[in-house]
Symmetry: C2
Subunit: 320 residues, 2 copies
DNA sequence: CACCCACATTGGCACGCGTCAATAGTTGTA
DNA sequence: TACAACTATTGACGCGTGCCAATGTGGGTG
């Protein structure tokens, strides 16, 4: 592997010269030397070892983004893409880590001495404390914030359903463990809004994501117009297909709203009403905080501000 | 940040002792010392700096998995999960890098001196050569292999459709750029099988993933029984929904087969016939090759062997 | 008692890099 | 000529680690 010493040898200068020229001190050297070093480095495909650099600097330029065990849908993907791009502009390298429930996996990454760790899922407070005690800057949705966002989503669903004149509603959530992070909070949001506005909220349905279970769930519902607040678009799709099969008329007898505004919502027929979120807004803010190293602790009273950016996308599965 | 020296000081031993005990040479030391060092390290939350270790070893324990700009669906997610898990058992840390088309992004990762790089998308031969010249072990589907696999998928779709007595078929692919990697090859597989078995293959439909476009596509089809080989389950879902809306009877008048065997295929009603792949098989093999450092170059004549593991999952959208 | 050997532990080097003090070379000033 | 003031470049140190050679420490054997 090419090292700075190799480049120096070939360019006929000292290793120190190479290092300085490639680290923003080129103005100290003659144009001739600078050109020769740059060229040689390029030709040899030299990449400074992050190990050496990290060692001498004490921290790496690496940001680790923890992806929890949730569905990595288009929304999350786009978020991460934007984040990676934004960080790259600041000279930081974003790498992803799929964090299953196993705790030790997260620790494996600490050896990198990452610049900071971004979590897409709320970490337990004790974990955050442990990381920060090690000097790692942890950024991410606090449990409180995540909860607030999910409650907001649930509230929006209920609000939309009521606005479309579904006065009797129910929550539908998947049985899969992967979704257990947010499901209770979203349900809470629906229930709160429902009871606040005198809606009739039926017991929550929990289904496996198969056609059979969806049919059973739909069959278990009482007759009469009803609105279903689904955990995400996949759940909504399952319910929608089953309802159509059972001859339930959509949206007259049954209203369905999902979450994510995914391809599923837009591609199915009828299109599914869903909830989208404004990612760019969040990403821009996030990058700023990472670079500046300022704390990103959302005070409880300000969570409302951060739960903006959620928008109901009207589809054909809900209509007055 | 805690270092091995800190641990040594607190445990009352030399730094060297700490290092050796934590690196598989514990048998050289007394039980008492080993216990004390292990305990102290645990209490202090010591994680050896990867920088130091990499420096002295010349290579890190990090495997970089490049995720191309394709849909990170459940199948890919599961594959990566399994891979991460398998590598962890071998002491390797798997990190993900979302690689957009931008070349420089990949280089950013070279400074890590990764143990190897796994690519989920075929890299250009010159890129592979460049990486290997730097001593990085590149593993991944060669363009040839990926192509072979995709052709196989297409062939399987056509075969299944013919088996279910759809003698007139068409390919449906999404317009999105993200899917352009595999789409042509899958189409090729369908066409080849079709012409080989005297099937009538209609011109390929290209649709955006919206309900409207799907309706238009379905409307453009001639009357009579037809089988549609869809690029993936999302496309299949779009077509299915549109067909049901148009009163096309499924599977009598129209057969639909997707790819991925995703939640979509199982959750929709009717369930969608799809193609699944045996991930664990591939992953186990992959991990073995990474650890052993042996070449994983699939010889052209052996591609067939690697394209096994694809299975048609019968759903309700195709039936004789 | 002298010797050797196994055991338990430590000292010291090298890895590649960024940085800063130190050096050589050149020009300007008194 | 002597000396300062600059410019262009280099030497040397230390970051944290893994590992090998070296050291100390007993206990057993002759």
């Amino acid at each position: 592997m090419t090292g700075s010493a190799d480049v120096a040898l070939r360019a006929g200068v000292s290793r120190s010269t190479v290092s300085q020229i490639l680290n923003g001190r080129a103005h100290l050297f003659s144009e001739e030397t600078v050109a020769k070093v740059r060229e040689t480095a390029a030709v040899m495909g030299y990449r400074p070892s992050l190990a050496g650099r990290t060692l001498v600097r004490g921290k790496s330029d690496i940001v680790i983004t923890l992806i929890p065990d949730i569905t990595f849908g288009p929304t999350v993907r786009e978020f991460v893409d934007l984040l990676t791009e934004g960080l790259a502009k600041e000279g930081l390298t974003n790498l992803l880590r799929l964090s299953s429930s196993d705790d030790t996996l997260q620790d494996a990454v600490l050896g990198l001495r990452p610049h900071s760790i971004v979590t897409m899922a709320p970490l337990r407070p004790e974990d955050i404390e442990r990381l920060e005690k090690q000097g790692i800057y942890v950024i991410g949705q606090s449990q409180a914030f995540q909860a607030a966002a999910d409650v907001t989503i649930g509230r929006l669903q209920a609000e939309h359903l009521l606005g479309q004149d579904y006065k009797r509603i129910a929550v539908v959530r998947p049985r899969s463990i992967r979704e257990q992070y947010s499901a209770p909070e979203r349900e809470k949001g629906v229930l709160e809004y429902g009871s606040l506005h005198a809606m009739e909220v039926l017991p929550t349905l929990e289904i496996g994501l198969t056609s059979d279970e969806a049919l059973k769930a739909v069959g278990s519902l009482p007759a009469g117009r009803i609105g279903l607040a689904c955990y995400n678009d996949e759940v909504a799709l399952a319910i929608l297909g089953a309802a159509l099969r059972e001859g339930v008329s959509i949206p007259a007898e049954m209203g369905i709203i999902g979450v994510d505004n995914s391809v599923i919502a837009r591609a199915s027929t009828p299109t599914i009403t869903s909830i989208s979120m404004d990612l760019e807004l969040n990403v821009r803010e996030l990058v700023g905080h990472i670079v500046s190293g300022r704390e990103l602790r959302i005070p409880p009273e300000a969570t409302d501000e951060y739960t903006r950016g959620f928008t109901v996308i009207q589809g054909d599965t809900t209509r007055r």
